[in-house]
């Protein structure tokens, strides 16, 4: 049985965030476009180890993934600011292909985000989910093309299309984004507020990106 993140009592965590974290965790355990549920959970385990500062494990290789998968999970989790295009091309050429790499970007980014949220609030992180059976879907966007970024995308190069080579991953990103920050369609409103005002949210976002050394 998949375990969602622990209840946020006594902090007033909105129900939509709790549901979002639960959904993200369940998605990790399900088969993806290129990987089985077991392989996705193994990628999750490796990302979590790297983000928490633990030494590399062997979960991806044990799950039948090439070494590039573990390396990608570790780098994306622990030091994404150091990623350069030649490294991406090496990883892609190491048995993952662009679709496999993009799927790993999606998994790792949401796992680190969820662990960051629970850790920030002193909540217990969710245990690794049990993988769901089934083969990878193979659902890749055939219309994706190389653009100005390092991976193919559907349409113009855009952060909202960043994972669109693997439609399920791009959809998961958008689902995660709304409850944690703002839905894509809300972002054009400079005065929108949650518990924080929009300037406070943007300051937190900007400072996060600065500490992470992310130019975008």
């Amino acid at each position: 049985m998949t375990s969602p993140p622990s209840a946020p009592d006594p902090l007033p965590v909105p129900a939509e965030i709790v549901a979002n974290l639960r959904s993200a965790w369940e998605e990790v355990a399900a088969p993806g476009a290129s990987f089985t549920g077991e392989q996705r959970v193994a990628i999750t385990a490796e990302a979590r180890r790297a983000w928490s500062g633990e030494a590399a494990g062997s979960a991806p290789e044990d799950a039948g993934l090439p070494p590039a998968a573990g390396e990608a999970a570790r780098r994306l989790a622990a030091s994404p600011h150091g990623i350069r295009r030649p490294w991406v091309e090496d990883i892609v050429g190491g048995g993952l292909g662009y679709a496999g790499y993009v799927e790993i970007v999606g998994i790792v980014s949401r796992v680190v985000a969820s662990d960051t949220f629970t850790d920030a609030l002193g909540l217990a992180g969710a245990p690794l989910p049990d993988p769901r059976p089934g083969p990878p879907s193979g659902e890749i966007a055939a219309v994706a093309r190389p653009g100005q970024a390092w991976v193919p995308m559907v349409g113009a190069t855009s952060i909202t299309q960043a994972l669109s080579l693997v439609p399920a991953e791009n959809a998961a990103l958008e689902r995660y984004h709304g409850p944690m920050y703002l839905a894509f369609e809300e972002m054009a409103d400079p005065a929108i507020s949650r518990a924080l005002t929009r300037p406070q949210m943007e300051f937190v976002a900007a400072r996060t990106s600065a500490v992470n050394e992310c130019f975008y």
Binding site: L76, G122, P179, T197, F203, V204, T208, V211, Y216
Partner: protein, 116 residues
């Protein structure tokens, strides 16, 4: 978005605080938020104290909101860095002065060339 939202809402902000933790952000509760971001991302053992500071200044719902925004940008930063997402030319031109003033070029690793 920080600059435009501050302008739209009449909120004071010192943008230098984005890259310099020693600068007062001027935003209400800004110093506490900056401190919280720092310790969360550094996984510092002082996270609980920083969280308590945010909750004391802005309320528990704001603390949760801040943690969610940090989490979201942990995701988005990895997506951007992992895919080599470039900042568009129009945005670079509009924000050229700010990029230079805050020294943000040092974070730019995209090369603007297509995937092969």
């Amino acid at each position: 978005m920080l600059s435009s939202s501050a302008s739209a809402t009449g909120t004071p902000v010192n943008l230098a605080a984005v890259t310099d933790p020693g600068v007062d952000p001027l935003i209400p509760g800004g110093a506490a938020l900056a401190g919280f971001v720092e310790v969360v991302l550094r996984q510092s053992p002082t996270r609980a104290a920083a969280a308590a500071e945010v909750a004391a200044r802005l309320g528990a719902p704001a603390l949760v909101n801040a943690a969610a925004v940090i989490a979201n940008f942990q995701m988005m930063n990895r997506v951007a860095d992992g895919t080599g997402m470039p900042v568009g030319r129009g945005s670079r031109i509009r924000n050229a002065e700010l990029i230079a003033r805050l020294g943000l070029e040092r974070f730019d690793h995209s090369d603007g060339t297509p995937a092969r």
